[in-house]
């Protein structure tokens, strides 16, 4: 199924900004993170269609997934 993946800040380094990707049915966000080699502990902000979800969240076709690192600097 097609999923749009948008990466932000440091997650773009060595990866991409946004990409249409294909995942098998019933894939979870954890599968997507593993595929992108992003540690679950680092991806503290996971949004699917603008709503915060956990890594166990199951993906649906045409979901828009946004992944942010936490930023504490000031």
């Amino acid at each position: 199924m097609p999923v749009e993946v948008r990466l932000f800040a440091t997650f773009r380094e060595g990866r991409f900004k946004e990409k249409q990707m294909e995942f098998p049915q019933a894939s979870s966000l954890a599968d997507l993170l593993e595929h992108l080699q992003i540690a679950e502990t680092e991806a503290r902000i996971l949004l699917v269609n603008g709503t915060a979800v956990s890594a166990e969240h199951k993906l649906a076709p045409h979901d828009v997934v946004s992944i942010f690192p936490p930023m504490a600097g000031g």
Partner: protein
């Protein structure tokens, strides 16, 4: 009350804006903004809000100026190293604009003091550099119903969001709890490009002025991200989280806690 002749001149470029005018400027002069953190984000925010004529500005910071602060914290000068940050910041803001009042709080924002400080202000700028403080400010502003602008920076990147508590997505709606130690580097450990907090802190000041004057559209329900390397600004729409532990349907957080003490517990708790 009306503006004096000198004020008409000082703020003339504001006054000539149809959306501000002399009434808008008077409104700014009677407004109060609290800046928590007099560092990379707080420097431009403090200087611009002072210059813009926000009548009362509070500054909270417990630290002293260090040499390693100076490449980005432009409110502090070389001669200020060793000086209390709140005093250094106050001196520069009053030098820019003696028209305003600057209140200083030389203390760390904590569960037992933050609500009393926040209560006196119309808008709060979170310019802190650590997660426990950011969660504390989010929660305190929620309980005190104070609008605020959150921001964070890291390396070449920054992000900010404005929160109207109880009405728009809060920091916990998207972020839930303090990350466990070691999973989220602070700027002091990984570095930050000097101008990144300047961009983001100026945007926080912009949000404050817009809120005070009721201008335009705020960054509510919207995270604005900035990457200096690609000069890429992006808005990400954020929904309120019905499972938010603070502002959701079944809140678990009903009073303020110092997050540093509870971070470990939260780290072991599953996110919703």
């Amino acid at each position: 009350m009306g503006l004096t002749e000198k004020q008409m001149e000082r703020y003339s470029r504001h006054v000539m804006l149809e959306q501000i005018g002399s009434l808008g400027q008077e409104k700014l002069l009677s407004s109060k903004v609290l800046i928590i953190g007099a560092g990379g984000l707080g420097s431009p925010a403090g200087l611009y809000l002072a210059a813009a004529g926000v009548g009362t500005i509070g500054v909270v910071d417990a630290d002293r100026v260090e040499l390693a602060n100076l490449h980005r914290q432009i409110i502090h000068h070389t001669d200020d190293v060793g000086q209390e940050k709140v005093t250094s910041a106050r001196n520069k803001m009053l030098a820019v604009n003696p028209d305003i009042a600057v209140k200083t709080y030389r203390q760390r924002a904590k569960a037992d003091n933050i609500r009393d400080i926040v209560r006196d202000y119309d808008f709060v700028i979170d310019a802190t550099d650590n997660f426990p403080a950011k969660f504390l400010i989010n929660d305190a502003c929620y309980f005190e119903k104070k609008p605020f602008c959150h921001a964070g920076v890291l390396r070449f990147h920054g992000q900010l969001i404005t929160v109207i508590p109880g009405r728009t997505a809060c920091y916990r709606c998207i972020f839930h709890s303090v990350p466990p130690p070691g999973t989220a580097p602070a700027g002091s450990q990984v570095g930050v490009l000097s101008v990144v907090p300047a961009v983001i802190g100026s945007l926080q000041a912009t949000e404050a002025i817009k809120f005070l004057l009721g201008l335009g559209e705020l960054l509510t329900g919207t995270l604005l991200t900035y990457s200096a390397l690609t000069m890429d600004f992006r808005k990400v729409h954020l929904n309120r989280n019905p499972n938010c532990p603070l502002c959701g349907k079944d809140p678990q957080i009903t009073q303020l806690k110092d997050e540093s003490q509870v971070a470990e517990n939260n780290a072991n708790r599953k996110r919703t």
